[in-house]
């Protein structure tokens, strides 16, 4: 809607990138080499392509490397081997066309909510007037109208996390990365935020990669769920979620959703990992 109508600011994609391979991960390996001990293999042979506008979730047992995968996509952590491309660009450092939502809201306590949302636009020296307008639209969209001049400590955890989502979207990134963004919220707020996230995604049209602990959350939100095995993390299965959109929480009590949840959970039961 209004948000989408602003058009994309992002650099035009590098030549010959197809919308079908908006994110491209091929033969990705990640090893950690501690100074005085044997190397740890974190990720093995990860192959994944994500369409533009697709919603992907990554689930897996604790320590399987799902956050590592996200950090590599964000350009925060170097890969050991393989290819990682976002919108046709090799990821070697953080790309301006990526927005990220963290486990904790990570707002700056000395900035108002509005100024927190503006942080990426300030860092990337984007046109202030235009992005002020966009920041306001995003805040309106997530229901934070009237809280622009408040400081983070005056807001609840859920509201802070919503401000964090606005911040991740303010520079109109091609890809939105989310690292267990709702893990710290209570169950009620979490469900509410899931519904909100779907609405935001529908309106902003970003390509989303979400890391989560919660299988139902992954099924509810995603077009496809990537299941990682125990460390070293390999892709155990990619489960397409064929539930009609737009979805509401009622979908989750349907048999088909239950089948998806059971199918994903079976991977963890087989590995006797409760997560």
């Amino acid at each position: 809607m209004a948000i989408k109508a602003m058009g994309r600011r992002t650099r035009p994609p590098a030549a010959e990138v197809s919308e079908g391979t908006w994110i491209e991960v091929a033969a990705l390996d990640k090893r950690y080499q501690p100074r005085r001990s044997a190397p740890t293999q974190a990720l093995v042979d990860i192959n994944l392509t994500v369409r533009r506008g697709e919603f992907i979730s990554v689930v897996g047992p604790s320590g399987c490397g799902k956050t590592t995968l996200l950090k590599i996509l964000a350009g925060l952590s170097p890969k050991s081997a393989g290819t990682v491309r976002i919108a046709g660009r090799e990821v070697t450092k953080p790309l301006p066309e990526v927005g990220m939502v963290f486990q904790a809201p990570t707002l700056l306590p000395w900035r108002t909510i509005f100024d927190n949302v503006m942080v990426p636009a300030e860092i990337q020296k984007l046109d202030p007037a235009r992005h002020r307008e966009r920041a306001q639209q995003l805040l309106d969209m997530v229901g934070l109208t009237g809280f622009e001049r408040k400081y983070p400590h005056e807001l609840s955890g859920g509201m802070q996390q919503r401000a964090g989502i606005c911040r991740a979207l303010v520079h109109d990134p091609a890809v939105l990365l989310m690292d267990e963004p709702f893990g710290a919220l209570d169950a009620m707020t979490r469900e509410y935020m899931n519904v909100e996230l779907l609405r935001i995604w529908r309106e902003s049209g970003q390509t989303v990669v979400l890391v989560t602990h919660s299988i139902p959350e992954a099924v509810f939100l995603s077009d496809r769920v990537v299941v990682l095995s125990q460390r070293p993390g390999r892709i155990a299965e990619i489960v397409p979620i064929d539930l009609e959109r737009p979805r509401d929480l009622g979908v989750m009590s349907s048999d088909r959703a239950g089948v998806y949840v059971d199918r994903i959970r079976a991977h963890f039961n087989a590995a006797s990992v409760i997560d």
Partner: protein, 281 residues
């Protein structure tokens, strides 16, 4: 510390806090307990010294100190002493604290500099700076300079430690957040490291200003022809013990005023920090 609480009640960014709490004596008993303790101590002192007939040359009574204070405040010469000491302390404070901010920033940002200088700083920090006062008077004379140097040196170290510690204290998650959005070193410094250091810097200022007054007075003890430290010695030589106490009262008030000015600035500029971790006092 009742006054601190009152200032706290007027904090800018929390407008939803009702201001009527300000006078709630039940919730904040210190509002009457602090003045009450003052009254009790002064009365006990006043009548205790009379009861045990303590000599005025040993411990004057509060009323005598009050009289002496009135006498001094009415004397133009006293104000010139006050001005001299204030100027020495303030100049020394600004120089010491300014140098500490510059050096501290440099040390915290360049690893080699830190590795090279830290041993010297730690070693020099253990030197009792007050003991350097005779040397400074020898080098810089009886005038203003030796006291300014003393005040600067003594307020420099707590500030330096706080600046270094504060610039290091930035939260790794916040730095990572800025990095994801493409921030470089300078932007990370400006957007996270500096604001994080601000409460530490105020802690350094708070200790620094009190130390600067101390430094100026000690410098005057060693060799001076004016200033409150000089006046303290003069009243002592003349057995004007009430006058001595009056000078001490004035020095305390100077320290208190400086402390509250800095606290006020802190509540304005570093309003998000609830309490300050004081380092290097």
């Amino acid at each position: 510390m009742a006054t601190t609480e009152v200032v706290g009640g007027a904090r800018t960014p929390a407008p939803e806090k009702p201001t009527r709490r300000r006078l709630d004596l039940r919730e904040r008993p210190q509002l009457w307990l602090v003045p009450a303790v003052f009254v009790v101590v002064v009365l006990a002192w006043e009548y205790g010294t009379e009861l045990f007939s303590v000599d005025e040359y040993v411990l004057p009574r509060p009323s005598q100190i009050f009289d002496a204070l009135g006498r001094q405040l009415g004397d133009g010469l006293f104000w010139s002493h006050l001005w001299v000491t204030s100027r020495e302390a303030l100049l020394g404070f600004l120089i010491g604290v300014g140098a500490a901010v510059l050096l501290g920033t440099f040390i915290s940002q360049v690893k080699v500099v830190e590795a090279t200088l830290m041993p010297y700083i730690v070693a020099f920090q253990t030197v009792p700076k007050v003991a350097l006062a005779p040397l400074f008077v020898l080098w810089f004379g009886f005038g203003l300079t030796s006291k300014v140097v003393m005040a600067a040196v003594i307020s420099f170290f707590p500030m330096l430690v706080n600046v270094i510690e504060g610039l290091r204290a930035a939260d790794a998650d916040r730095i990572q957040m800025l990095t994801v959005f493409g921030a470089g070193r300078a932007q990370i410094f400006r957007m996270v490291r500096l604001p994080t250091a601000l409460p530490f810097i105020f802690a350094g200022l708070d200790i620094g200003i009190v130390f600067a007054i101390l430094g100026a007075v000690v410098g005057e003890f060693i060799g001076a022809k004016e200033g409150l430290g000089y006046l303290l010695l003069q009243t002592n030589y003349n057995f004007d013990i009430s006058g001595m106490f009056a000078v001490l009262v004035v020095l305390s008030v100077m320290g208190l005023v400086a402390h509250f000015v800095i606290r006020l600035l802190q509540r304005r500029l570093a309003f998000w920090a609830e309490d300050t971790r004081v380092i290097g006092a």
